[in-house]
Amino acid sequence: MATPLLAGRGISLSFGGINALDGVAFAVEKGELFSIIGPNGAGKTSLLNCISGRYRPTRGAVLLDGQDITRRTTNQRAGLGIGRTFQNLALFGHMTVLDNIMVGRHHQLSHGFLTGMIYWIGGAEREEQTHRREVEEIIDFLEIQHIRGEIAGTLPYGLRKRVELARAVALKPRLLLLDEPMAGMNLEEKEDMARYIIDLNEEWGITVVMIEHDMGVVMDISHRVMVLDFGKKIAEGIPEDVQRHPDVRRAYLGADEAALLGTA
């Protein structure tokens, strides 16, 4: 079997007394759209943080393409092709939308401050233009042309989420981590977002790991789903199987059950 693009080996993470993650093991194949679900506080964001480098697991390892990246810093992992968005908005609020997205190009650009300051002479201008053209493709794809010059912090919530996605895509990720990309959106915005994610996965060939609470969307678009509860993996598989899994139903017992079945 081919090496999975992303693999977690017995990832544990504790904060003082709390075990946010407890021996979580999983593998995501190249080209997959993989979702992580679980009740609030289950450890989903913590797991994403371990993958992107924000947290270092107390035990276990994270492998990208078979290579152990557990000791790599966050910014190095961006260079390896891991992009992500945050559960809470995390744009560069005072920059324009365009500049926000261009920051995503950080690793792709080679002109630093020295040649940057003499813009016209050292080739920085040409480089900026080349990347600008590519970034415009992302902007077109996510349909944010009309706001490219706006200051990111002044945009409405749904658009900001989209800009954040654009910024992560600008990084040319092999692996895209999305933390609740549809939280707080209305139905129409959710449908758009789902379409973008599917296109990124299918047409742009980006492997996606997504945390999402909207079960309807998750069960609809994911290839496989992993369920966390109290830091432990309780199920993993194709959406239909996961939905039927008794432990999953127990974890979601009560008010959330309807949500799990996607009937909410």
Binding site: R84, A90, M95, M102, R105, G116, M117
Partner: protein
């Protein structure tokens, strides 16, 4: 904000440092007008403009550190001083032409800035403020002790800028040296901010966690920002030294550091043009106050002893008062006010 009808047709046109073509022309025209100043105005005006020039270069450096990267420095004047001494030293000791010594002094100052920036990159807020205060005192102490570098209490002579046999030794001539330096340094900063490393600095300021996720090495950029900021301070200081012809160890104190902060707060944190506006404001303010005080003293009111004493203090207080008033009423600085005024006139008379 673009006037109606000004559409961009290429990425190149959309990526200029000037928001509109008109503003580019205005800038060029402004520089050309300034170039004519020595032909028209007297030494008094030239002196003020030269001061605005070298302080303005240093203030821009501080703005890159504070306004664009979101750090703080209470020791900027020490780097300004270091640049002044370094340039004089390079010229006196090694005979390096002044015109070359000025940028080299900038590089030396940048190296010192990086040195102090290394520990500073790991701390934030109040702790960082205190650490930079330490750099202020360490450098001041160094100036007083390092006779070989600064001439100690005697100070150091700084030769005028000379190219071939032509010496820029009058205010009229030196004005052009400063003008070229200001234009180059400001263009450099504008370019920096529209390329990778400049965006990275702002990203670190706006959201350091996202910046890191985007692949930005926080430590590197926090240190880099100290380096760039010190480079500007060093060049500004060198211009200052060669203007006065003499660099003394006094004057590069915390008060001047605070004034640099005042310049960028008044001008607008995170605004390139704001840096020079704020500098102009703080350089001109004492002059205006001086005139006002003189007028007041000459009037009947000035004859009263209490008022006569008071107006002297009032002049001293003006800078502090200006900073406080700006912080309260115009926290975005002169640059912001300027943009709003422009926006108002652009749509006039339909400015709603």
């Amino acid at each position: 904000m673009h006037p109606c009808g000004d559409f961009r047709t290429s990425y190149r046109a959309d990526m200029t440092i000037f928001p509109t073509r008109a503003s580019a022309y205005a800038c060029v025209a402004g520089v050309l007008l300034l170039a004519a100043v020595p032909l028209v105005f007297d030494i008094y005006v030239l002196t003020l403009l030269i001061q605005i020039g070298y302080y303005g270069v240093a203030a821009l450096g501080l703005n890159i550190l504070v306004g664009f990267t979101g750090q703080i420095s209470l020791g900027h004047s020490a780097f300004f001083g270091f640049g002044a001494f370094a340039s004089a030293w390079l010229n006196n000791r090694f005979g390096i032409p002044v015109l070359l010594a000025i940028p080299l002094a900038g590089l030396m100052t940048a190296a010192v800035g990086v040195l102090f920036g290394v520990p500073a990159a790991r701390i934030k807020g109040l702790y960082l403020a205190i650490a930079t205060l330490a750099s202020q005192f360490i450098l001041q102490d160094f100036f007083a002790r390092a006779d070989w570098f600064t001439g100690g209490s005697a100070g150091a002579a700084a030769a005028p800028v000379a190219v071939g046999g032509f010496a820029f030794d009058t205010d009229q001539r030196y004005f052009y040296v400063v003008l070229v330096a200001v234009v180059a340094m400001y263009l450099g900063a504008a370019n920096l901010l529209r390329t990778r490393d400049g965006r990275a600095l702002v990203a670190v300021r706006d959201h350091y966690l996202s910046a890191e996720i985007m692949g930005i090495n926080l430590t590197r950029y926090r240190i880099l920002s100290f380096g760039i900021s010190s480079f500007y301070a060093g060049v500004g200081g060198a211009l200052f030294g060669h203007y006065l012809g003499f660099v003394s160890i006094e004057g590069f104190d915390i008060l001047l550091s605070i004034q640099f902060l005042g310049m960028i707060i008044i001008g607008g944190l995170g605004s390139i043009m704001g840096s020079i506006m704020g500098t102009a404001f703080l350089v001109l303010l004492p002059e205006v106050m001086e005139t006002a005080v003189k007028a007041l003293a000459a009037s009947g009111l000035g004859q009263m002893q209490a008022v006569a004493d008071g107006i002297v203090y009032f002049k001293e207080m003006a800078i502090g008062l200006a900073i406080i008033l700006f912080l309260i009423f115009e926290p975005d600085g002169l640059a912001h006010r300027w943009r709003q005024t422009k926006a108002y006139w652009k749509l006039y008379p339909f400015s709603y």
